[in-house]
């Protein structure tokens, strides 16, 4: 019997390589649960076809192109980077009528994208993270701030949101500088950013294609000693070799909603399957994106794009019957009975508004002894 295919666009190389492997595990865990509990569409197995986006829009679009027009796939989880997700949506999945759920693309642009309802995400927009980060900076008593951000929709959106909030709180942003990924040296950007001696650097970047380099070069040339990070740098890798300088620095990142048993259950299942779960974001949301797509396919009874799109909002409802992340069986029965579902996801309850965004929470994290620990959570 033919399998049911879902595409995944995960970066195994490039700027988000250190996230991709784990978010992919999230999707694999969902696949495992679904297949162990009898598959979907009357016993067909779920197959995940992954394409490495290389955290690079071009590779992402080329990969998505293949998923849609060659493999005939109409449901995709991905991509992580907003810089990849947006062109994939605009150039491939929207015109190709395929559903795309990103587990981590936080750019505000996604909210307003002209997408015929084909694009969703299981995280909140950066209009929220920006507020939290702006407040964080102000709460840390910084009066002035320089921002260096990756030149894509994520960097720009978050940059704008932070500036707005920080200025609202009376702070001054002395410099806001976009950078290109993968350069050997960011000394000129840093020199510009430091030129008016701001209190801290707020860095919006991904780990491997610039973030770590900027942190190190900022430190070793004495440009900055106070930092605020965002979700792209919530990875222990950033502290290696510079632990003593980063001790106590804080950052923001989307996190699971407090309460509800999804997150706990997810950690348990994940560690059973793959070992310890790292403090990185978006592993849970990747699981959820996969699970929700499966629900929608089951509901639609078809693998056609428009049907899946419509099914998503038909099947999920706040007041539906509760389904936990390990209860695929139950979900299928409910769908068969025509019931709506309240999905208690790995990152908390998953519900989309009419532009495909979902609710969520932003956490504040902190570097302690070279490790990343969650400090507090701010809810929308």
């Amino acid at each position: 019997q033919e399998t049911v295919k879902i595409g995944t666009l995960m970066p195994l190389t490039g700027g988000l390589a250190s996230y991709g492997q784990f978010t992919r595990n999230g999707t694999l865990l969902a696949q495992k649960i679904i297949n162990e509990q009898g598959g979907l569409l009357g016993g067909r197995e779920l197959e995940l076809v992954n394409v490495d986006t290389q955290t690079n829009p071009q590779a992402g679009v080329d990969g998505a192109q293949k998923l849609v027009s060659v493999n005939g796939i109409n449901a995709i989880v991905g991509a992580l980077s907003s810089g990849v997700t947006i062109p994939v949506a605009e150039s491939v999945t929207v015109p190709g009528e395929a559903v795309l759920i990103s587990p981590s693309s936080t750019s505000p642009v996604l909210t307003t994208l002209d997408d015929n309802g084909y694009v969703f995400r299981t995280v909140p927009s950066d209009s929220l993270q920006g507020v939290v980060a702006g407040n964080l900076a102000a709460d840390l008593d910084h009066e002035s701030l320089a921002i260096i951000y990756v030149n894509n929709d994520y960097g720009q959106g978050l940059n704008d949101a932070v500036i707005e909030q920080f200025e609202k709180r009376g702070g001054e942003v002395t410099a806001s500088i976009a950078f290109e990924p993968n350069k050997v040296s960011y000394r000129s950007e840093l020199m510009d950013a430091a030129s008016e001696n701001p209190d801290a650097l707020l860095l919006i970047a991904y780990t491997d294609d610039g973030g770590i380099t900027i942190i190190r070069q900022a430190l070793e040339n004495g440009y900055f000693d106070q930092f605020i990070f965002t979700d792209g740098l919530k990875a222990p890798e950033i502290t290696e070799g510079v632990e003593q300088y980063l001790e106590g620095m804080r950052g923001t990142a989307p996190t699971s909603m407090p309460g509800g048993k999804g997150p706990e259950l997810f950690t348990e299942l994940y560690e059973e399957e793959f070992g310890e779960i790292p403090p990185k974001p978006y592993i849970d949301t990747s699981f959820d994106a996969t699970f929700v797509l499966a629900l929608a396919i089951e509901k639609a009874g078809s693998t056609e794009g428009p049907a899946i799109r419509d099914a998503i909002n038909e099947v999920l409802a706040e007041d539906g019957m509760l389904v936990n992340i390990n209860e695929w069986d139950k979900a299928k029965e409910l769908i068969a009975a025509g019931e709506k579902i309240r999905y208690e996801g790995a990152s908390g309850p998953v519900l989309f508004n009419d532009v495909g965004d979902s609710m969520g929470a932003i956490g504040i994290w902190k570097i302690e002894d070279g490790d990343i620990v969650n400090e507090s959570v701010e809810v929308q």
């Binding site: 195994l12 190389t13 390589a17 492997q21 992919r24 992954n50 490495d52 690079n56 829009p57 071009q58 590779a59 679009v61 080329d62 192109q65 293949k66 027009s69 060659v70 493999n71 005939g72 810089g83 947006i86 062109p87 994939v88 605009e90 150039s91 491939v92 929207v94 015109p95 030149n151 894509n152 929709d153 290109e180 990924p181």
Partner: protein, 317 residues
């Protein structure tokens, strides 16, 4: 894979082969016939792609655009703008020794890439231009790629014909002569610079059109697409494998090289995800080794240099 799957893969594959074949034919005019060492193909490719994207896209706040011209206008404008670029690049450099021209062209291609990257008002910078319209989209449904393949083939046929016809004419003879020894051609009263320029521009025109086709097919372009490896050296490899100065060989070279380039993807696709990086590396290493073996065993290329001639034998007389 099902039959339909195989078929749609094949079509997809052939479209890329076709676009590369256009690039290879164009390079063959420049290098194979006129001895012009252009290793800045990426630059012309990018200019063609962006031109057509900007000319055909509807209004957008992100970058220059909003002209909404038809596809065919996009193709021609792409060719023209690439030609103008060739003219500008050519004025200072076309007289130079061949390897100097090469290094100058690669430098200019890099500058173009920087411009594309940084001039966001024009090209939307590193984020790229997305949602580039596909001609007659929506009419062919799931057979759309097949239709696009037909467009590509039509372009190839036209270019192939013009190239063969040109090269077997006295015009081609002058070009080949320039490749051998400019002094002789000058002493025969021919304006060498003009001929070289013509060949350079003609090739650039074809590259521009190829670039436009690429933009419309992928519907998304960003500076990443025009890195020297994929956009320049791969074309060179195709030309060399097919046999320099051989139009037919150029096309076969494109087919084989792209076949290997993407074929190895299947092999590595079968490995577990944890090995993706390694697999990708192994894949490129294999391609490299394959290239070296071809060069060592058949340095003249699979088809060798075709004997183009304006007059073939004494017998004709």
């Amino acid at each position: 894979m099902t039959f339909a799957g195989v078929f749609s893969y094949l079509v997809f594959f052939l479209i890329f082969v076709g676009i590369y074949a256009i690039m290879t034919l164009a390079l063959n005019i420049q290098r194979g016939f006129a001895g012009l060492f252009n290793i800045g193909i990426a630059g012309f490719w990018a200019v063609g792609a962006y031109t057509s994207a900007i000319v055909t896209k509807g209004p957008t706040p992100d970058h220059l655009g909003g002209f909404g011209m038809p596809f065919i206008v996009g193709l021609l404008t792409a060719g023209l703008v690439a030609s103008v670029l060739a003219l500008l690049v050519g004025i200072p450099t076309i007289r130079l020794r061949e390897d100097y021209l090469g290094i100058a062209t690669i430098g200019i291609a890099e500058i173009i890439r920087l411009v594309v990257k940084n001039e966001a008002w024009l090209t939307n910078g590193v984020r790229g231009v997305s949602a580039i319209p596909k001609p007659l989209a929506g009419i062919f449904g799931s057979n759309y790629n097949l239709f696009f393949l037909l467009i590509v083939i039509t372009v190839i046929v036209i270019f192939y014909y013009l190239s063969e016809k040109g090269i077997n004419s006295p015009w081609g003879r002058v070009l080949r002569a320039i490749r051998e020894d400019e002094e002789v051609v000058k002493a025969a009263g021919k304006n060498v610079v003009r001929y070289r320029m013509e060949a350079f521009i003609l090739g650039a025109f074809m590259m521009g059109v190829g670039g436009a086709l690429y933009a419309h097919f992928t519907s998304f372009i960003s500076p990443e697409a025009f890195r020297p490896m994929q956009a320049t050296f791969l074309v060179w490899i195709m030309l060399i494998i097919g046999g320099s100065a051989n139009n037919f060989g150029s096309i076969v070279g494109a087919f084989l090289t792209w076949g290997i380039w993407t074929g190895t993807e299947f092999l590595t696709g079968m490995l577990p995800a944890a090995y993706t990086t390694q697999a990708a590396a192994v894949r490129v290493i294999l391609i490299g080794i394959f290239l070296e073996i071809i060069l060592l065993s058949r340095p003249q290329g699979l088809f060798g240099e075709k004997k183009y001639s304006s007059k073939k034998t004494a017998a004709e007389n």
